[in-house]
Every structure is written in structure tokens, then in C-alpha cells.
Amino acid sequence: MPHRTFIFFILPSLLSMILLIAVPIFSAMTQSLFIAHKQVIRVSETCDPFGCKKETSVDAEATSHLREKEPLGVFNGFETYTNRNHLAAAEIKTSWNVATGWKDLFSRIMNLPFYKALAFTITYTFVVTPFVIILGFLIALGTNSLASWLKGPTIFFSLLPMIVTPLIGSLILFWMIDADGIIGSTLQRIFKDNDLSLKASPALTWIMLIVYGIWHSTPFAFIVFYAGLQTVPQETLEASMLDGASLWQQKRYVVIPYLMPLIIFVTLIQLMDNFRVFEPIVGFNASANATSLSWIIFNDLRGEDALQLFGSAAATSMLTIIGVGILLIPVLIMIWKEFNSKTV
């Protein structure tokens, strides 16, 4: 296709992506280097027969005028990155000097908001993904051996957790898990503990969120593996049966290697998507116990008017993008290799 025609066809799409994806990233990068103007303080002196007094007050008019004139704020360089809400360089250094051991150092670092969010995000990503793969694979194997009239409805029901809005799905589970809800009260009865609440401790909250993540993402893995299972070459399978392989050995030596490209594909996509976890934390109201990188960006942006911390949100955004980039490298390499092997 001649280049000119190509450009015409792809221009609207490319333009929208550049304007609304690439440019905002640069905008966020710029914003991360600034910090909001501090309020303008005015010192006024009032003198009366008893003596002169100095009074400090906030000059609201000058403050809003300044904020309107220079909306970005004051240039802060990389200070926002190293402040307490982000990489917390100074705090970590003090902790390193003061801590009484690895555990103490660890818990001190966990008190810093960014690292708390990072820890949860990484844990969520690297726990949910393997479970999703394994569970999806098992369900695909199971569905494959169902009677054919059962297959359609099974697929329908299994698709639902993925199709439903993440926020809504997490709300539905949240209401069941609530201390007055069906799962919550049943658990209280089982453990004979009237104060048991899945929302109480960080550990339980993390587990709850991870369970939600697995529930939500397994259908994707299930569908992809199920489709792949339909195309397993029958001859290899039959040859292995003739060679006396048991059912388990068949799976291990024939099916899994055949599905390996799919498994890698799903793993990489899941890693990327789980790193962005955000809606479940809102749905489960879990922000006291578990925060994620995306959530703290949202939190910074949520305030009223002048309380929005653009610079802070932007700095966290940049750090999140770096994290996503690291996870993205294997995907890009994989696609590059495959394209090369196809056209060459």
C-alpha cells in the first residue's frame, strides 16, 4: 500500500491516540516536576495606643490570582519524586540507620504510602496471575470433557465475572463478605467469632482482593485455553496413548507444550493488566488496609478544587509507567520475534 494512502487511512486513529494517550503522558511528566503554589501569606501590622502588633493571615485573593496565572505551580525538579509520598529517599535513609533489624526496617518502609501501594500491587500481580493461569487451564480441561449440551451454558456462566464491570463485581462480592452479609455471617458462625471481619486486618483484606482478582480474570484464561484445546493435534495425542501414557502424562507432555505460546501470551497480558489494579480497592472500600499504585494516583486527584495534588499524582503516574514498562519488555520482545519469524 503506498505510504500516502496508508497515512490517510490511519490518520484519525493515530491522531486520537497521540493526542489523548501520548500527550497526556508528557503532560503528566511535566506536571510531576511542579508543585502547587503555597498560599500567599500576608503580614500586616496594626498599631493602636497600646503598641504595635504583627498579624499573619492568608491572602486569599493573591493566592487565587497566583494559582490562575501559573496553574502548573512552582518548579520543583525531582523533589516530588523523593518526598515522603513517593520514593521517600530521606525517610528510607533514616530508617536504615535507625532500624533494629530486617523486620523493623521492612515495617518502617511499609508505613510509607508509595511503598505500601507498590508492595500490594506487586503481590497482587504476581499472586493473581499464576492462579488465574492454573485455574483457567483446569476449568478449560474440565469443560472440554463435559457433555456437549452442557458446554454452552458453562461457558456462558464462566464468562460473566469477566464481563461485569470491575467496580460492580467487587461490590457484589463485598456485600456478601460484609459482616452482615451471607458469607461474612457464615464465616462468623463457622469460626464462632462474632468480631471476625474480613475487612479488619490488612492480611485478610489483601487475601479478599486477591480472591476477587482471580474470580474476575480467570474467565479470560479459561476461554483462551479452551479455544486452544480445540486445536490440539489429535495424532500426537493418539500416538502418546498408544505409547502407554497415562492421562496425566498426556497432559504434561503433549497438551501443555502445545499450549505454551498461549500460556505465555495470557501470562504477559495478565501481568500488565493486574499491575493496574484499581477498581476493586474502591469497591471493597479497602483503602485503609490495601492501596495500589493506581489508587494513590486517584486519591491525589480526588480532592476539591485547590486540594488536588496534580504534581504528586503525576509523579506516581511516572513511576507506575516505569513499572508497566518493565513488565512490557518481554511482551514486546515476543511480538518482535514472532513477526520476524513470519515475514523472513
Binding site: A22, V23, I155, L167, W175, V224, F278, V282, I321, F339
Partner: protein
């Protein structure tokens, strides 16, 4: 396991809070004992009435319909053009563009929102539905391009090449030859665009004002007021109302959804 939470919530949405969240006996929610006591019958539409009329959920439903309709149409229009070009290009740079699209797809939406807010405030376009529509179209593009390009790859090149030989230019070939045969792929991609626009929370919550909100951020705003008696049921009713169209969607379009998910993944 997958469906029981939905069924439970659906059944419970017709009860009052005392039953749905009954500490005494979970079977209360099944039989609706409190509901009988409070409203005189075991089913009640109170939750729905509360959400739809008093909290004006119907307004959010209209907003969602507008946003979703335009996002799908615009997304598919520019996406088919782009996907077609990428599929028929034959040059290396098509691959680079696709990989760039993948990088774009990986960006967390809230990060993009943090880039949007300041400029949108400055230019006074924050809080309007068209702004959100364009943003959702753009965020959707990487995924749409990938999906459509892989569908177009499956349409034999000979079809449009014969049109070119007959004297059409590229655009005429696209319009007369490709459009009639591309519908299965377009419908599948349209479904995923629909899902992304319908389910979105990060973008719509931050870019729309209170009056303009679509259904999902509206539900989130219910959560703030759920501590009062009976308010939870509005949220429950709203959740069920929002989920039902999705059920219908999956029921009718199950095959397309499955084929869409596997199109890129399974190499035939």
C-alpha cells in the same frame, strides 16, 4: 461458583436491608422475612424506586447510553480504517505502530486522567459528555486496532487486489469490497468497545460532573451515603440494573465474545 454471587445479589435486590444483610439467619434473605414485616410482601421494589427515581439513576442510564453509543460508532469508524491500513500495509512500520499501540494499551487509565485534568480545566472542556466520549474512543483505539487488524488479515488479499486491478482506488475498494464482508469482525470489536465504554470507572469518575455521570461512577457515589438505613439497597438495585444489560449481551453475543478473545491468541 461464577454465577452464584450474581444470583444472590439479584434475589436480594428485591428485599430490604434487614434481610439482605441479616446477621440472624441468611435464609432470611431467601424468604424475605423482614421484607414481609416492613412492606407487606416478600418482594419489594423499594430499592429500585429509591435508586431510579430519588437518586435519578435514570439520568445516569441515559448518560451511559449516549456515551456508549457514540464511543462505539466513532471507535469502529476510525478503527476499521486504521486496522485495514495496518493489515494491508506490508511495510515494517506497521509492526512498529502496532507495538506502539500495545504500549499505549498498557498505560493505566488513571495516569492518563492525571495528565488530562489540568489542561481540561484550563480550556474549559472538563465535565462535558463529548470530552469523555473522545477520551474513551482514544483509550480504546489500541485494543480496537489490534483486534480489527487481525480480523482484516483473515480477509483474503485477492478480494481487494482484484478491485484495485479493476480501477478502484484504495478507499473505493475498502468501501465496496471490504465493508460487506467485515461485519463479523466489526461486531465482535464493537462488543468489546461497548464493554470498555460501559464499564469504565477511572475516566468517567474523574472527567464528568455530578449531573453528567454515567452509571458506574454514580454507583460509586451511592457508596458514600450507604451508611444510612435503606441506602445500601439503592446501591444494590443500581448494581443489578447496571449488570442486567451485560447478562443479555453475553447471552446473545457469546460466540462473538469468545471468538474475539481467541482471535489474536490462537494462531490457526
Amino acid at each position: 461458583m461464577a454465577i452464584s454471587p450474581f444470583l444472590w445479589t439479584l434475589w436480594g435486590s428485591f428485599k430490604v436491608q434487614g434481610d439482605f444483610f441479616s446477621k440472624a439467619d441468611w435464609a432470611n434473605a431467601v424468604y424475605g422475612i423482614q421484607t414481609l414485616a416492613e412492606t407487606g410482601s416478600t418482594f419489594t421494589l423499594n430499592g429500585y424506586r429509591n435508586a431510579w427515581i430519588e437518586h435519578e439513576f435514570w439520568l445516569s442510564a441515559i448518560n451511559t447510553s449516549i456515551v456508549v453509543f457514540f464511543v462505539v460508532i466513532i471507535s469502529l469508524t476510525i478503527g476499521t480504517l486504521g486496522g485495514y491500513a495496518l493489515a494491508r500495509s506490508g511495510y515494517r512500520y506497521a509492526l512498529w505502530l502496532l507495538m506502539l499501540a500495545l504500549v499505549f494499551r498498557a498505560m493505566p487509565h488513571i495516569t492518563l486522567v492525571s495528565g488530562y485534568l489540568l489542561p481540561f480545566f484550563q480550556w474549559n472542556i472538563w465535565g462535558h459528555l463529548p470530552t469523555t466520549i473522545i477520551v474513551l474512543v482514544a483509550i480504546n483505539q489500541p485494543f480496537t486496532l489490534w483486534m480489527l487488524h487481525s480480523f482484516f488479515l483473515n480477509i483474503p488479499k485477492e478480494l481487494d487486489e482484484s478491485a484495485l486491478v479493476d480501477g478502484c482506488n484504495r478507499f473505493q475498494a475498502f468501501r465496496h469490497i471490504i465493508i460487506p464482508v467485515m461485519w463479523p469482525g466489526v461486531i465482535t470489536t464493537g462488543l468489546f468497545s461497548f464493554l470498555l465504554a460501559y464499564n469504565d470507572f477511572a475516566v468517567t469518575a474523574m472527567l464528568l460532573s455530578q449531573e453528567n455521570q454515567t452509571m458506574v461512577p454514580k454507583i460509586a457515589s451511592f457508596l458514600g451515603s450507604t451508611q444510612q438505613e435503606g441506602e445500601v439497597m439503592s446501591a444494590v438495585a443500581a448494581v443489578v440494573s447496571t449488570t442486567l444489560p451485560l447478562f443479555v449481551l453475553v447471552m446473545f453475543f457469546q460466540r462473538q465474545i469468545v471468538s474475539g478473545l481467541t482471535a489474536g491468541a490462537v494462531k490457526g
